[in-house]
């Protein structure tokens, strides 16, 4: 029995020792964004890896490996690392793209007397550069940065310009120097750029190493941050967070958090970049706000606003736009109405100027302008133009007998009858004088004109007049003339000929159609 107990106890002790010892087959990798040569960084960070391996054997061999920005992203994509320690902006970007954990701890730098959980950016130029004294002066100046997405050496400074309602630095103004941050300082010193953006503390570190003198540089937009041990031009943002990749279990995360929050055993000054330990995670909302304002990945898309939000935010501009549109549409409507009325008035005036008020036929003015046009057209085509000059027979007697009102009524009827009996659209009848009418027949030979004249004459005979009238009281005499339009002919001749023909018709006893004397009627049938 005693023997069995001894074996059991030894077995428990053995299992216990296995559980407590480091799992040599296991590796935990913490990927760190490096901004100095990787070999140097790897050496400095190995102290942290050794510390974690020793204090938390369950994590196995802990390696803290430096990566460039692109390498770090690839390592996350292929799950080659378990934890990531990077700047806040990159953490937020990776968190959105690859679903990293919430920040587990935040880096503390500085000293025991003055621990720093935040960092900022610096904007500097040479002390004797009188052209740059404030943020406003950065417009159009060459600015040295490591790369465009550098959090502490580009984005922080750009956001400061936005906060001051100034335009951000344009791409063509940047002089890209790459890392480390000392490169930007050198670029300003040797005149490649007028202004440099760097992480706050860079100038102080270089001065402490004897590489530069602080008096060579002046800081733009210097902030009042009291005990912060470096000159800062921007707001301060929380230090780097450490986060776990999705495959890391909560237990493993807890082990790393516990070990990192208790770093008393690592002597101060042994970790790189002044890291002296870790604290519970900071609030990174200020970094996210900055990234949203700058529209940097993953916040490139503009924020979606609801109508309510739009109204709340832009109430007055919207009202101004609506009022302006209302004014413009009212004015346009008014303009439309006015134009329409003007057009109608023009049409009325035109009618008045072209038509005879009593009969509604065209007046002399319109007749002559039509004759002009037809004469030109006839010259072009070589066709003849015919005129019928019409006079109502004994109209004065008619007027005397039945009165002027009846006379007017007879004129209206005659006019209407003439108009009705002209079949072609281009034929035109006008009131020529008191009881005289004139008909223009374009492209018409004399024979055809005589036909038309006869038709008109007959149709007038058919007019039913006042019931008391016994005999056909109204007849017309028509003088017909037709002319070719060669160069020697004038339109006045045509009228003269028609006049002569009319005279002839009257002389021949009225109510007939005549051609001018001396011309042979091509066709004339009664």
């Amino acid at each position: 029995m005693k023997y069995h107990l001894l074996i059991l106890t030894s077995l428990f002790l053995f299992v216990g020792s296995i559980a407590g010892a480091a799992d040599l087959t296991r590796k935990t990798i913490i990927g760190v964004l490096a901004f100095q040569p990787k070999s140097t960084a790897a050496q400095s960070w190995s102290i942290l890896g050794d510390y974690l391996s020793t204090t938390r054997p369950e994590l196995g061999k802990v390696l803290v490996q430096p990566y460039s920005e692109q390498e770090l992203e690839r390592a996350i994509q292929s799950s080659q690392i378990d934890f990531i320690l990077t700047n806040p902006a990159q953490y937020i970007q990776f968190h959105h793209h690859y679903g990293l954990s919430a920040p587990l701890v935040t880096v503390v730098r500085g000293s025991a007397a003055n621990p720093l959980t935040a960092f900022g950016g610096t904007i500097f130029t040479l002390t004797d550069n009188n052209r740059v004294n404030s943020l406003r002066d950065l417009a159009a100046k060459k600015v040295a940065i490591p790369f465009q997405t550098a959090f502490g050496a580009a984005e922080m400074q750009q956001y400061e310009l936005l906060l001051n309602e100034l335009p951000t630095i344009r791409d063509e103004q940047f002089v890209l120097t790459g890392l480390p941050h000392d490169n930007m300082v050198r670029a300003v010193l040797n005149g490649e750029a007028e202004v440099g953006f760097a992480r706050a503390g860079t100038l102080e570190r270089m001065a402490a190493n004897g590489q530069i003198r602080l008096s060579q540089f002046k800081i733009i937009n210097k902030q009042l941050l009291g005990c912060y041990p470096a000159q800062v031009s921007t707001h301060l943002y929380p230090e780097w967070p450490l986060a776990a990749l999705r495959h890391v279990s909560p237990t493993e995360q807890g082990d790393v958090i516990a070990a990192l929050l208790d770093m008393r055993h690592i002597p101060e000054g042994t970790l790189p970049f002044g890291v002296r330990g870790f604290l519970p995670p900071a609030n990174y909302s200020s970094v996210e706000n900055m990234m949203r304002a700058l529209r940097v990945p993953p916040f490139e898309a503009p924020p979606q606003l609801t109508l309510d939000e739009l109204w709340t935010q832009y109430q007055w501009p919207i009202l101004a736009i609506i009022l302006t549109l209302l004014l413009i549409s009212t004015l346009s409507f008014y303009l439309l109405i006015s134009r329409r009325r003007l057009y109608q008035a023009q049409q009325e005036l035109k009618e008045l100027s072209e038509k005879d008020a009593l009969t509604g036929l065209y007046n002399r003015r319109k007749f002559f302008s039509s004759l002009d046009a037809e004469w030109v057209a006839a010259r072009r085509s070589g066709n003849r133009t015919a005129l019928l000059l019409i006079d109502i027979d004994h109209f004065k007697t008619y007027n005397d007998r039945y009165g002027h009102l009846e006379g007017d009524s007879a004129l209206v009827k005659v006019a209407a009858t003439l108009k009705e009996n002209l079949l072609r659209p281009r034929d035109l009848v006008a009131r020529y004088g008191g009881e005289e009418f004139i008909v223009l027949l374009p492209e018409t030979e004399q024979g055809d004109a005589l036909h038309v004249a006869q038709r008109l004459r007959k149709s007038i005979e058919q007019i039913s007049l006042h019931p008391v009238m016994t005999t056909p009281a109204l007849t017309i005499s028509i003088g017909v003339a037709s002319l070719g339009t060669d160069e020697t002919q004038k339109k006045e001749t045509l009228i003269e000929l028609a006049d002569q023909a009319l005279y002839e018709a009257k002389r021949s006893g009225r109510n007939c159609v005549k051609t001018p004397p001396g011309t042979t009627p091509e066709e004339l049938s009664a």
Binding site: N114, P115, T117, A118, G120, L163, N164, Q223, L224, L225, G226, C227, Y228, H235, L236, Y237, P238, A282, N283, S285, S286, T312, W316, L319, A320, L323, T324, L326, L327, T330, L331, F333, Y334, I337
Partner: protein, 321 residues
């Protein structure tokens, strides 16, 4: 036609009116002057100024040296408003300076403390002992509350008045047994003191407020609305321990970062919703806001018997959202 012409005429007139109204400054005349002395609860004002949130045409901040200096500036009318403790507001109203509280900046939840020499572990042990304190309403208030708890009368203790900035020296050099002071503690006190009492045991009593002279309340309405809006704009930074804000506060007050963070944890900043409730003026809220304070102040003979509370609070200046 006449209708159209009239419509156009009216539309144009309305448009011109709108343009001229929007071009007009929101407030005529000089900016509203607000006095404030160095205290972390009031520093949202200074931070707003640093961040250029404050329109200088509307609001001018007037730094004062102390609470009593701010009160003097209000009394003689050289400022329109001041950041004060609520007890100071009641005292000034009793003197005849009509004030209206439009914002509660903060509540003390441990920032005001009473310390004692090692060996004194209970307030009752203060009988016959010397207590150092500032000669202010706040000092009297804390003293009265401690004595009430210890069931002691004022004549059972000795008092040594001394301004807060000299409390470190007082603790080291004088033979006082206890000290009523507020955070941050000077380094001379930190190691060898026992905490007897703090303002968490005086709930809803010590409040820092923005008090406006009642006669300038409406005339300067746009200015009050502006400053309150910007205070709440900045408030989230104070609540989130934003490192930038911590550094700026430390610089403004001359504290270390750790001291600033410690004091920030011991005061509470009421949100907009809380402010709206506290300042709604209903009898229930007025009792909640003032009853404990008035009782202790009357006991300390800082206030006489009849207190008029009409027009003491107004929540209509708070931002709507």
């Amino acid at each position: 036609m006449g209708f159209i012409v009239k419509t156009i005429h009216y539309t144009l007139t309305a448009l011109l009116l709108c343009c001229s109204l929007s071009a007009c400054p929101k407030q005529e005349g000089a900016p509203a002057r607000i006095a404030f002395h160095p205290w972390i609860g009031y520093e949202s004002l200074a931070l707003c100024q640093q961040e250029r949130f404050i329109d200088p045409k509307r609001v001018e901040l007037v730094p004062s040296q102390s609470l009593s200096h701010s009160s003097d500036l209000l009394r003689n009318g050289s400022v329109d408003a001041a950041a004060l403790t609520l007890d100071e507001v009641l005292k000034l109203r009793q003197e005849g300076v009509q004030l209206t509280v439009i914002l509660i900046f903060d509540l003390s939840v441990g920032a005001d403390i009473a310390l004692a020499r090692p060996g004194i572990n209970d307030a009752a042990q203060l009988k016959g002992k010397t207590i150092g304190l500032e000669q202010s309403a706040l000092g009297q208030l804390m003293l009265t509350a401690i004595l009430e708890r210890a069931q002691l009368d004022i004549d059972q203790v000795h008092l040594h008045y001394c301004p807060v900035p000299k409390h470190g020296q007082l603790w080291q050099e004088s033979d006082i047994d206890a000290l009523i002071t507020y955070l941050p503690l000077p380094k001379e006190i930190r190691s060898n003191a026992v905490e007897l009492f703090d303002s968490r045991q005086l709930p809803n009593t010590i409040r820092d407020v923005l008090a406006v002279r009642s006669d300038r309340l409406e005339a300067l309405r746009p200015a009050w609305e502006h400053i309150l809006k910007e205070h709440f704009h900045l408030l989230s930074r104070l609540l989130s321990e934003d490192p930038d804000t911590l550094h700026r506060l430390a610089c403004l007050l001359g504290y270390s970062i750790q001291q600033t963070a410690e004091v920030l944890r011991k005061i509470s900043f009421p949100c907009l919703k809380c402010n709206r409730t506290y300042l709604n003026g209903t009898p229930e809220q007025m009792t909640r806001l003032t009853s404990n304070l008035i009782r202790i102040m009357q006991r300390a003979e800082l206030l006489s018997g009849d207190i008029r509370l009409d027009g003491l609070v107004d929540n209509s200046f708070l931002p709507r959202t």
